[in-house]
Amino acid sequence: MSIKVRYFASLKETVGRAEDELQATSPQPARSIWQQLNPDLPIPDTLLAAVNMEYVGLDTLVNDGDELAFFPPVTGG
């Protein structure tokens, strides 16, 4: 199975990538996906996550085919 992971704004620069594709054998919590993809980067305190464009907590399970996004606090308006 495959999970698409996207990074935005300052986080994209910190991570050094805009996207990742994670191959996993079972659904994974968002937190553990971060840890697998960024083993050297602690999870930022202010990290926000979305699955399929809806906000989720970091313990939410992410399934095959989902799009997971990580980003910093939003600053629009």
């Binding site: 996207r6 202010t46 979305a50 464009m53 996004a69 910093p72 939003v74 600053t75 629009g76 308006g77």
Partner: protein, 151 residues
């Protein structure tokens, strides 16, 4: 409900005028229009700012804004709403965001406009990257509480 992301500078007053004129549901019915216009400043956190780039998450931005406006429509008696937000390169004095809420009565228009704006600030996935007068580029880390002096 109309939501637009706009790469070019726009005139919020012209947008309101045009929308109001073209929306039949408003004709003769709207007693109150709650409007918020956000404009780019040339200063932030003590520094002069020469320009800004507004990044967004395509798809999620629209989805979140639609959800916010739908929530407002459930909570207040609105006739229609218009939300326009700039994306891309922005200059000081450009309009960043327009929220207009039309209702029969002022309470619904005022409150819905405020609600939509505050929810947009905390939930819509936009990120500002400022270019200072010195040329230095930095990300805005978080939105302010909306008042000059903390409350």
């Amino acid at each position: 409900m109309t939501i637009k992301l706009c790469e070019q500078a726009f005139n919020p007053w012209q947008e309101i005028q045009t929308y109001q004129t073209q929306t039949a549901a408003l004709t003769g019915k709207h007693g109150a229009t709650g409007v918020f216009v956000g404009t780019m400043r040339d200063f932030n956190q003590g520094d002069s700012i020469q320009g800004m780039f507004l990044e967004h998450y395509p798809g999620m931005t629209e989805k979140q804004l639609e959800g916010i406006v739908a929530q407002a429509e459930q909570q207040w008696a609105l006739l229609d709403t218009l939300v326009i937000h700039r994306i891309g390169a922005v200059l000081p004095d450009d309009t960043l965001v327009l929220v207009a809420a039309w209702a029969a009565h002022r309470g619904d228009a005022f409150d819905a406009c405020r609600f939509i704006m505050e929810a947009l600030k905390s939930r819509a996935p936009f990120w500002k990257q400022e270019t200072l007068a010195s040329g230095q580029v930095r990300w805005v880390e978080k939105n302010s509480g909306g008042y000059q002096n903390p409350r």
